[in-house]
Every structure is written in C-alpha cells, then in structure tokens.
C-alpha cells in the first residue's frame, strides 16, 4: 500500500492486507540500496501467521518517493512516523544491515513502541570501506559489484540457491542496479557515520535477536562482539554457510530463527 509521510508517498508491502489493530505488527526494514522485495518470503510467512506485516521501502528506495535520508537516526524517526501513520501502537522490527541499525535506533529511542527487534547481518559500529564509499559516491557500478560479491559467502559465489531458478548473485546485483543515483551512497554513509550504536544498544529493553551469517564478510561475526556485549541478554543465531545476504542465502534457517522472538 502507499501512504504519505512527511509529504512524500511511501510504499509499504503488507501482503495486500489492511492493517488490523487486533493483530501484532512486524515492520521489516531493508538494507542499503535494496527494497522491500528482500523480505518477500518472510513477510508472506508472518502475514499468514496472523501478523500485520509492513515491509517498507525507505525514502528514495523501491516504490517510495522522496530523497534518501542522511542518517540512521533520521531513518529511525521516519519508521516511527510510518507506524504512526498506520496507527500501529507497538511493533516488532526486523532489519537487515543498514536496516538493522535503524531497528536498533528505534528500539533505543522509542522503547515503548518496540516489542522486539531482530538484527540480521548486523554489527555496530558498521564502518564502510573508502573504496565502497568512493564508488557509491561516484555512482560507479563497482560499488554494486563489491557489495554483491562481498555480500555473499565464498561458497555462494557460485550460487546454490534453494529458491528454485533464481541466480542469487544476479538478482541481488539487479536490485542494486535499480537503485536511484546517489541512494546507495546516502545509505553507505549513514552506516559509516552511525558510531554510537553500542551506546544505544545498552538502552534496549525489549527482546533482541541477532541473526548472523557464519561466513559474512561485510559484517563478520567476530565484529559483533561489542554489540552483543552492549545489548542486554541478546539471542544470537549464527547460520552456517551464510554470508551477509542472509535472506537469500539461508531463507529457511532465517525464518526458523525469526520465530524465536516473533
């Protein structure tokens, strides 16, 4: 569905269902340069299981209008504005990569609105290499290439998709290629500049689950220690064989893990 937030049209995938105030709500937040389609399997699943699902396209992404937002804090405020517009009181937030930082910030700054968070392919801080930043700033295709290749575990460079007939590398690359000029740079810079994630993580009061790819090369498991230490009693699921693009590389294992808090 389309709604209006801050004067701009916003797209939210809801499995073609109206928001039902009697149901629990889950908001899915995609990562840098992506859109809501990365959550199709999971959002369909939780919609069938009696939830309102709201898989957003961040401003400037996918089917949402408006300029891309410059910071994780701004994106978190925007997510809260989205659920306000949908008159949703409390939500569980599921975010991937950049989206996980947005979920983290929401949970820290709006603890009364967030009942659980799931951080998929996450870490904090989330520094971005100069090479990626420079390429993204120049709208150079090399940025898409770097993120696509490093976004998958080494074993998945050759695919092996359990989702039949989809070349996982090619589909991810096409999603990046569909992003509007400058959008990926805004996202990457927001990741890079969000440096107080562990401070914010300490404020989290809701259940928190980290779903990590054992072979993640962009946000390696070993780099999540500070975040794991900062969040009070987090649940942690490390998925064997998966890299950073967990929704594609391990869709079923991720779905099973999500059920631990959703």
């Amino acid at each position: 569905m389309h709604i209006e937030v801050d004067g701009h049209a916003v797209y939210c995938y809801t499995n073609s269902r109206a928001i039902d105030a009697s149901k629990p709500s889950i908001v899915f937040i995609h990562g840098s340069g992506m859109d809501h389609t990365v959550w199709t399997l999971a959002s369909r699943h939780f919609a069938r299981h009696g939830n309102n699902v709201v898989s957003v396209d961040l401003p400037g992404h996918g089917r949402s209008d408006g300029p891309p937002l410059a910071s994780v804090e701004a994106m978190a405020a925007w997510v809260i504005a989205v659920i306000d517009t949908l008159t949703i009181d409390q939500v569980a937030l599921v975010g991937h990569s950049l989206g996980s930082l947005v979920a983290l910030e929401c949970a820290a700054s709006q603890s009364d609105r967030v009942r659980a968070i799931v951080l998929v392919g996450t870490t904090s801080p989330m520094p971005v290499s100069d090479a990626i930043l420079e390429a993204a700033k120049a709208d150079d295709h090399a940025a898409f290439d770097m993120l696509t290749q490093w976004g998958f575990s080494k074993r998945h460079q050759f695919g092996g998709n359990r989702n039949s007939g989809i070349w996982m590398i090619g589909n991810t690359l096409r999603l990046y290629e569909r992003s509007r000029p400058g959008v990926l740079f805004h996202d990457m810079r927001a990741c890079n500049e969000y440096t107080n994630g562990t401070d914010q993580a300490a404020k989290i009061t809701c259940p928190a689950l980290l779903i990590l790819g054992e072979e993640d090369r962009l946000t390696p498991v070993r780099g999540t220690r500070a975040l794991q230490k900062a969040i009070p009693s987090p649940l942690v699921e490390v998925l064997p064989g998966a890299g950073h693009t967990i929704m594609v590389e391990a869709p079923n294992a991720m779905l099973d893990a999500l059920h631990k808090v959703l």
């Binding site: 995938y13 073609s16 859109d35 389609t37 199709t40 399997l41 999971a42 369909r44 699943h45 069938r48 996918g62 089917r63 290499s129 100069d130 090479a131 390429a135 090399a142 290439d145 770097m146 290749q149 490093w150 074993r155 460079q157 050759f158 695919g159 092996g160 998709n161 359990r162 989702n163 039949s164 007939g165 989809i166 070349w167 996982m168 590398i169 090619g170 589909n171 096409r174 999603l175 290629e177 569909r178 869709p251 079923n252 779905l255």
Partner: protein, 435 residues
C-alpha cells in the same frame, strides 16, 4: 581496494548453481528422480505452497537437479533466473503465454527455426496471438511492424538458415522505445559466443538439446530472464504488474522485483501448461555445459577449417558463414560475435537437388539427420527433408536452394571430415553429370 572479479564463464559453467550434495556429499549434481518431496510438517507444507520458504513440492514446479541447471544458465547469461523446460519450443511458448494473451501481437524476425515459425505463423493465431515477420537485417522494419497490441520482439542471434546476425543493440533499442522486451533465441551461439543481455536483450530462449548439452542425447529448453526490463514502467504487462487471481492476487513485480517474469512463468505457465524438464535431462545438460567452452571453441575452429575447404571446391557455388567475404553481416558478426559464428552453416552445390541428395547419401562420418549442435558432425539436405513441402520459389524466398546443404560441424578430426566431404562432392559431381 579494487572490486573483486566475478567468476569467469568457464568456472561458472562448472560450478554455478551447485554445491556438494548436502545429503551425501556427492560432488556431481545428483539426479533427484522424484515426482514429489516430503513435508516435515503441515505448516512447512503450507509455507512452501504460499512462497514463504525455499524448497520443492512437486517436480513439475521445481526439482533440485533442475534448479542447479536453471541457476547455472542464469549465471552464464548474466540474468536473474531461468526455467528448464521440456524443449526449446516449450521455453518459447512459456515466455509468450506468460507475457500476453489473446488479442496480442509479436514482431519477429522472418529468419527463424521452422518450429518457431510454425508456432508463430499457424498455431498461436488460433489462440488469438498474431505475428508480423520482418527482415532480421532491418531494425526499422521491426519498428514499423510494432502495433498498439504488440507485446514482444523476437529473433534468433543467428537466423535460420542464412545466419543473419541479429543486430541486438539496435533492435533492443527499437523494442525498448516502444516499451517492449526483446527476446532472442541463442541456441546456436550459447553464452560462449554471445551474451545477449549485455547487448540489450531482455529474455533468452535456448534449445538446450543443441550445443548446451552438446551430445545429441536429450531434449530440453531453457528460458532466461535478464531482470533488466521494467514491466511496471512499460504498463503493457498486466500479468506481471497487476493482481493474479490464480495466486491470491499476487502482484509479481511487487513481490519479486527484477525476477517478476521468471517467477510468474514458474507459478503459472510451468504449473498450468506443465512442460517441465525431466531431472535426468537436466543432469545430462549439466554435464554438457561443464565442457561448453572447450567444445564451442573446437566447434568453431573446425567450422572455420571446413568452410575454408569448401570455398575452394569447384562443386560449391556458395558458402554462407558470417565470417566470410560476401556475407552481408560480416562486419556485424565481427562486432557481436568475435569468438565465432557457431558451427551450423549452409552451402550451395552447383548441381541442384540431385547433387544435394547424392552428396548426403555419400557421406559416412557426417550423420544424416534433423538436428544440430551434436558433438558428431551432422548433415541435411533441406529441399528433400525439412523443407520438402516447399516449391523452388518458396525455397528461394527462405534463402534455400535446391542444392543447399546444411552442416553442423562436430568435434571430429577435421581431416576426416574433409575426406568425408570429398566423397560427397565426388558423388554430387557425378549426379550433376560432371564426372
């Protein structure tokens, strides 16, 4: 920090889509010869049916062996996904019925494989889909033929039988300006010789029976989606951009983004028309693809040797291969097909129909049959076989003479092929009364 390189074509041909078998550790892709797959519990079953999990239900819809082949060809072509079908014709049909319905129109090259021509000319009109055929060498002719109800532009990378080289960049531009996708049949070229998506094509169809499998042992087709065409922006494809009642009002562009076409083709066309590939066929095609580059380079090398030989023979009036002087697409071939123009070509004997028949009957290394793309060399005399219903004028309109011979050059020692061809040429000369 430099961007890492993607795996190359040869590496993808061996590895793409496959992992060591999780059940047994088998390195080769196993043949999952099973009609259906058990569900661990009812909710898992429901989640598979409702596209919530990755997995397999029934082998008409998907199969683990086929899935490796599908991902492999999508990787080789640089697309987002693919579907393995019962034949190349099934892949063509699947693409068309996914994109359009009755009242639609196709603009196609006039230089097509006979089976494709039959489908478009005679069969699909019965179902309300008409085709206008145009000169494959004239992009403007494609533009002129586009109507309000046109939904697809279609051609072969190398047209049949004269090896017209499809100007993919120019024709893709024509199609895209009209909000239409360009589909190409790349059967004779394979991703070793040309990468149509990099040139602007949106959909690729293969008869995997030919060079992809490479050994003449299996029938199969592949439909590959580039993921580059914007179906929503075009506004001409409600099957992809509007709710589908056959799947709880799913909107494919909304839920699958760049993979909308290939997902709809699987969820509807493969499900309802049922032209799926056997897992054993998929296994055989995978074995063929593993050696694609090695075979294709040798096919081309042998073809160049044979065309050079034939050019020097008194009995031969014409050799039609785009790399040769006199072929109208020589410059375009050099640009689009620098690694070669495949291994199927035709040549004309001076002695007409009798010479052609005598030539074919005298060969022993070349196999006389109706196929191309085998490791073994193949020959056919179109006027007495594939095109026997046509009179001389109709043959000429199709670029075929009474003495035209079509060869598919295999991987034998070229000296043995030449010796065999000499036998045929002697017989042709005798039949033509020039002994």
């Amino acid at each position: 920090m430099a961007a890492p390189d993607y795996p190359g074509l040869d590496t993808l041909a061996l590895h793409a889509g496959s992992q060591p078998d999780p059940a047994t550790g088998a390195r080769a892709t196993p043949i999952y010869q099973s009609a259906s797959f058990c569900f661990p519990d009812s909710d898992y079953a429901a989640s598979l049916f409702n596209i919530e999990r990755a997995g397999h239900v029934y082998s008409r819809l998907s199969n683990p062996t086929n899935a490796v082949l599908e991902e492999r060809i999508a990787a080789l072509e640089g697309g987002v996904g693919a579907i393995a079908t019962a034949s190349g014709q099934a892949a063509l049909h699947l693409a068309i019925v996914t994109l359009m319905g009755a009242g639609s129109h196709i603009v196609a090259s006039a230089a097509l494989y006979g089976g494709s021509h039959n489908l478009l000319s005679y069969t699909l009109p019965r179902f309300g889909i008409d085709t206008t055929f145009v000169d494959p060498r004239d992009p403007q002719a494609f533009a002129n033929a586009i109507q309000d109800n046109t939904r697809l532009v279609f051609g072969e990378t190398l047209g049949n039988p004269s090896l017209d080289v499809l100007n993919i960049p120019a024709i893709a531009e024509v199609a895209h300006q009209a909000g239409l996708p360009l589909m190409v049949d790349s059967t004779t070229t394979t991703p070793y010789l040309i990468k149509p998506f990099e040139l602007g094509a949106d959909i690729i169809q293969h008869s995997a029976t030919k060079f992809l499998s490479g050994h003449g042992i299996v029938i199969g087709g592949l439909l590959v989606d580039s993921g580059q065409f914007d179906w929503d922006a075009s506004g001409k494809f409600p099957t992809l951009s509007e709710p589908y009642k056959g799947f709880h009002n799913l909107i494919f562009t909304e839920e699958f983004g760049p993979a909308a076409l290939i997902q709809r083709a699987r969820k509807e066309g493969l499900r309802d028309f049922g032209a799926c590939m056997s897992p054993t066929s998929a296994f055989h095609i995978l074995q063929g693809i593993e050696t694609l580059s090695v075979r294709m380079s040798r096919h081309v090398e042998n073809t160049r040797t044979i065309t050079a030989f034939l050019l020097e023979q008194d009995e031969v009036a014409r050799v039609g291969y785009p790399e040769l002087d006199g072929h109208p697409d020589r410059a375009l071939a050099a640009e689009l097909l620098p690694k070669g123009c495949g291994a199927v070509f035709s040549f004309d004997l001076k002695g007409g129909r009798e010479a052609g028949i005598a030539f074919v009957d005298a060969l022993s290394v070349f196999s006389h049959l109706a196929n191309i793309g085998d490791a073994k060399s193949l020959v056919i005399h179109p006027a007495s076989t594939t095109h026997h219903r046509m009179d001389t004028d109709a043959l000429a309109a199709g670029g075929i003479g009474e003495g035209t011979i079509r060869l598919s050059i295999g991987l034998e020692d070229p000296k043995d092929l030449i010796a065999d061809l000499k036998q045929g040429l002697r017989a042709a000369r005798k039949a033509a009364g020039h002994s």
